[in-house]
Symmetry: D3
Subunit: 160 residues, 6 copies
């Protein structure tokens, strides 16, 4: 069975992420969406909130597992019995960073392969950071994130 | 009447900014230089100081208005009755970020167009951040900023 | 009156070109679509055919003039009494070339300004060359070019 | 069964290609190495020679099929009952072109996915064109191509 | 005598740095490895620790001097009676930043030349920051840094 | 004695080339300007004309030798008893190609080092091809090439 890991911060999950997950789920038997617990950066949503939002945004896709991890991605891939990591490439600016990560992970664990999917052109400029920034400035984020994520962001920002 | 917005931090205004403003002022009826009030980053100069330095650096250009804004650029453009944003492109590193911003603004307000002018080659490597850094290390910033801005920087750095 | 020049080969005109022309026509009083007579490259469509296809594709836009030119763009801009050139930026690969052209034109004629509009994201990967290549291999080019251009391409390719 | 297509000119196959094929063959059930018959460019090796060299270079990999195609890749993928194309990314210069191809193929056939593998760092600067050029100038191409390909190149160049 | 400066943070020195130093030492009479005292960023290793690690990693190279500096690089180059700065280019992402630095230094001191060496392909993705990050997450950094540096990092991380 | 090779087509030599040669001549004992005899591309100026124009453009620089070569650069470097190649980097678009060449040359002859100088900002967009193209279209190439090269180009273009 071919299992791939799709790691990320997902703070929050965007329509761009969902596009990648949904395409990967048609190519592989199972996609593990793996939320990074990054202790050094203060997140907008907690790990539990992020996992909950991913779950509610992906009810239509059956062959996925939602999980979280910390430490080295190369070790996590190993632990899950997978060998392949999936990443979306949004635009050229992503490329160098992703390349470096892929080579580093391969150095740490030569079994780990990274494959890249190109973002669909309508999501090519979309990032979680940009979504948060637009929302904080009072902009409309419909079309960037699922309805449920939008409501949760607005709740956190303006009803806290 | 064609009015364009030239938004930025201008912390401080450089000869590169002045080059863009002066060229835009020959192409459009009116250029609004719009200083971003960014509450999350601690600026070197206050909003009022930045506006004052812009004013004193641009006495030769008549068809400009100097203003400040916060919130979404797309909303500010609307509020001023403009539809066009002007940005300078210094080098390839600017490009991806500027592209993302332009597409995001268009998504938020489909009326908003962004047009880009290329930096003149002598200012291609010039940025406000680099100017501040060189000044802090005691380097000569003549040729980077107007005389009046240079004096104000030195005053703030070494006479405080 | 603000007049801008939109130069190109337009062999053939694509929906990406039409997007740029239509947006420029809302920002300036007049847009001159200037078809380059390049004597060194063998074109797919003749100059006259290309002009005809542009005309039939742009019947909805009133403030345009369709023209052809050879020689230096900087001279042509001068001759038409304009000072501004408009170019679309499709993606990073365009950028360096466009930058070099803009700086060269400014060196040749310091009056000439080039302004860039970003391609809409759905046309970001679209080029005349790619359209010709897909059509030659029997692919469907609906969604790349106007209906009239598509028919003309198929006629030229398969009824000649 | 997951089948992927690895299309290319392979004129000649290099160690970089073999690295990608071998890694893809561990990730998917079957890899079809598809040699493009490009009628417009004069190749160094004929289609038959290229297929023969690929065969002899890949005797260790079992789950591959070697084939040739012309016309649209999107149609070929369809015809083979596959949905996924594999491409190697050597360095940033490849990226824009590959991105455009991936988006074009997806437009032509929304079923077609392209996935990218990063070249291993030792092959990052390796291309068939460079191999041919070095060989023509009398340089040693050991370490660039398999022994059998090297001999065939030298034979063609110097014993013809 | 040709003396060149190789400036950097070296926090810690990696095999990529050593590759550049060793190649520069064969091209020039003397290489000064100049460790930047950056008061604004909290370093992993102190200046003294970094200098010590560089010394112990470079015992095989004779024509080097190890030093530290603060303030402007352009001034430091002057002070040492040198005119040339050496930098390694790892990948395209370095390029723009390095270019800007080289042009800025030349503006500040027209005597200062910057020359670039390309990283060897096996170190092309290697950076001090990545080494620290991998080590902190418990990954094996053999092959990234000299044995002595690796031990010192582990000591600092896990025996403190 | 430190000898470096500056290889190129120099068809014709531009002020950008002269800037690099003059800066390299201050850093090394001797600079060999090596004109590539490329038998596959039809040049604008013959090898002899190009060498003559370089000679007449560089009368002020003493420590140079002007030569021509064909075959592999790596072999030529060897033959001249040098180990270092100098190249100018005009802008990001040069970078990938130059990187590939440097790595290939190093693979062919591990002794060969390539060092890069950044173009001065006023020559950053200047290339021999662009100079030829502007001249052919009747544009003024003063400021792109030395007076003597300009006259020779005009003579060849319009008095032939």
């Amino acid at each position: 069975m071919s299992t791939v890991i799709y790691p990320g911060s997902f703070d929050p999950i965007t329509l761009g992420h969902i596009d990648i997950i949904s395409r990967a789920s048609r190519m592989f038997d199972k996609v593990i969406v793996a939320v990074l617990k990054n202790s050094t950066k203060k997140p907008f949503f907690s790990i539990d909130e992020r996992i909950e939002l991913i779950k509610e945004s992906l009810t239509d896709i059956k062959n996925i597992e939602i999980d979280s991890f910390d430490g080295l991605l190369a070790d996590y891939v190993n632990k899950k019995g997978a060998t392949t990591v999936v990443r979306g490439l949004r635009a050229m600016s992503d490329f160098e960073y992703e390349f470096q990560m892929a080579l580093t992970n391969k150095h740490l664990n030569p079994e780990v392969e990274t494959i890249f999917l190109t973002s669909s052109s309508e999501y090519m400029y979309l990032s979680s950071g940009m979504v948060r920034q637009v929302a904080e400035l009072g902009g409309d984020i419909t079309g960037f994130v699922p309805e449920i994520v939008k409501n949760k962001i607005l709740e956190k920002l303006f009803k806290g």
